[in-house]
Amino acid sequence: MNEQVRTVAANERRLTIARAMAEAIAQEMRTDPSVFVMGEDIAKLGGVFGNTRGLLEEFGNERVRDTPISETAFMGAAVGAASDGMRPVVELMFVDFFGVCFDAIYNSAAKNAYFSGGNVKVPMVLMTSTGGGYCDAGQHSQCLYATFAHLPGMKVVTPSNAYDAKGLMTSAIRDNNPVIYMFHKGLQGMGWLGTEAGATVHVPEEAYEIPFGKAAIVREGSDVTIVSVGMGVHHSLKAAAKLAEEGVSAEVVDLRTLVPLDRDTVFNSVAKTGRLIVVDEDYKSYGVTGEIIATIAERDVSILKASPQRVAYPDIPIPFTRPMEQFALPNPDKIISAYHNLKRARTWRWL
């Protein structure tokens, strides 16, 4: 959670991420008639994860549209509507479903601006739920952050708390480019999904933007930098709190957006601490953790006092059963172990 948010004490207006997202969308819909929402079960039901609740009642079913289970059609339609002056906010219920409709996303939404030499803009927001931890098994628990972030032409944002969720949504809707807005189910504040309390924070009533490409240092520290997004930020903060009891001062960086990626903030933090742990609930190989580590290593490997560590989802499909799933998920303990590994790791041969 944002330090600057923490300081707001009086007049607190604590919202869940779900409500913060819905509020941002509603505010933009009020001021901009080109904004509309479509997706499965986003109207009458208010979204399976609550992030469109209340919109149908306020804006009616022309602007808040339940769709058939036809992701290829409505993602494509979002591209066409966005190219024609509208600003669709479209929901892919679980990110795991991207495989049925990805062409419209990565080959059209993401590339038409480029293909047209900048003459066609595709200002659409694709919001989609990510993450597991509640035994929803291998086709309903994935994060796939790197899958989206790897491919050019889309911005990718991943809020860790309601304050960011609102500001990032406002920025996403106002952006002239396609934005993939990935919200973690465990942070939504829907009781039935469990709820990470740290995600529900004060959210100002008025609309505000959070700029893309600016990571947040959500905890300052000097001994090690822990970099993460979404749910991982909360694991990291918990690990940092425990490490503090051991006398270790951990800095926690919430990337907030994967594209654009704020490499400078990460680099400067690691330059200060000399140590790096990257935490990610997405699959380990060819993913976020590799990119962050490579970013530091290629810019100046000499700032690393020890081999950086990753705490990521192993390269396995996500198992259903609780013991296996919990075994595989990142958690604060694994981050603490990673810190200890890092301290144990071979020191410089030059030292």
Binding site: L45, T67, F97, A137, Q139, F320, M324
Partner: protein, 338 residues
């Protein structure tokens, strides 16, 4: 569940077939009722999907039993069935190992997949049953199984069960066309329970009856009204027979009822008032019970015995699951590659 006693190729169910269907409907229903209760263990007073002996999403099939038994009455273990996120009734009727299925739903080591799959990923290779939790994605694999049988010259049809909402997914269209072009022994069963989560069929589907869509593939299309077990038995029998004889694919849409929410925890605010009560009054199990009474003279005592047997089957499976151990956590890393 004496599958072998089912007489193939007859379009009016024999007495034996009727009882086979009835027993399977009961087992399926009692299973769902059991799961419903157990699912809520640990989820009260706060409903948290992650808690309790059965965590995760839970899609019950109460009311849709006729689709499963009416079709599977014509199938043998070697036939291939793919199901959806709502698979239990079909799995029961297809003869999936009940103990191991329930253990899988509990996430136990004795489960069909050792707990890796869960309720949306029921796989039983012994009876050629598979699932996908992605809407429409059972279609291609069932077509592929049909292709495999045709190429190998081996017995067996491929049957894909999907919901009426899934028909608007591209996978439906592509698979139907492919099966038709290649004249494969393939049948699509559309369970039209009127709802895709909260979205009514009329709001998502441009035609009232998906059976007309068979015309797009030059194949027979059937529409079964009002969850009628016998009618399902009849048209499925016809379609499966034709497929076995090399006559190519068919499409069957069945008007059925979803007597529960889309998944457990669904408040069902989108249902028009009274709808559920109306459907419950037409509960297919009651209908079947009554038919067996009038047609086959099923007495209350006989019925009680059948009911008790079905309950016992389910109870045994639940006990098996409860008593089984969880797998060890590190097994998560196994079976990625085989």
């Amino acid at each position: 569940m004496e599958k072998n006693s089912i007489q193939e190729g007859t379009l009016t169910p024999t007495k034996e077939q009727k009882f086979w269907m009835y027993r399977n409907m009961l087992v399926s229903r009692f299973l769902e009722e059991s799961i419903e209760q157990i699912y809520l263990e640990g989820k009260k007073p706060v409903f948290n999907m992650a808690a309790g002996p059965i965590p995760g999403e839970m899609h019950l099939s109460n009311g849709q039993e006729p689709c499963a038994v009416g079709v599977c009455a014509h199938l043998q273990p070697f036939d291939v069935v793919t199901a959806t996120h709502r698979p239990h009734h079909i799995a029961v009727a297809k003869g999936v190992n009940l103990n191991r299925m329930v253990a899988e739903i509990f996430g136990k080591a004795t489960g069909l997949s050792g707990g890796r799959g869960g309720h949306m990923h029921i796989f039983d290779a012994d009876v050629n049953f598979a699932c996908s939790g992605i809407v429409g994605q059972g279609m291609g694999p069932a077509v592929g199984a049909a292709l495999s049988r045709k190429m190998q010259g081996k017995e067996g049809v491929g049957v894909a069960f999907i919901g009426e909402g899934a028909v608007n997914q591209g996978a439906f269209h592509e698979a139907m066309n492919l099966a038709a072009v290649w004249k494969l022994p393939f049948i699509t069963i559309i369970e039209d329970n009127q709802w895709g989560i909260s979205v009514a069929k009329s709001e998502s589907t441009a035609v009232p009856d998906n059976s007309v869509r068979a015309q797009s593939y030059g194949i027979p299309g059937y529409q079964v009204r009002d969850n009628d077990t016998y009618e399902i038995f009849k048209v499925a029998g016809e379609a499966i027979e034709r497929a076995r004889k090399g006559g190519g694919p068919s499409l069957i849409e069945i008007e059925t009822y979803r007597l529960a929410g889309h998944f457990m925890g669904d408040a069902e605010g989108y249902r028009p008032p009274g709808e559920l009560d109306g459907l419950k009054a037409k509960d297919p199990i009651k209908v079947m019970r009554a038919r067996l009474g009038s047609e086959e003279g099923l007495s209350d005592e006989q019925n009680d015995q059948i009911v008790a047997q079905a309950r016992a089957t389910v109870e045994a499976a639940v006990n098996f699951a409860r008593e089984s151990a969880y797998p060890s956590p590190e097994e998560a890393l196994e079976k990625v590659f085989v």
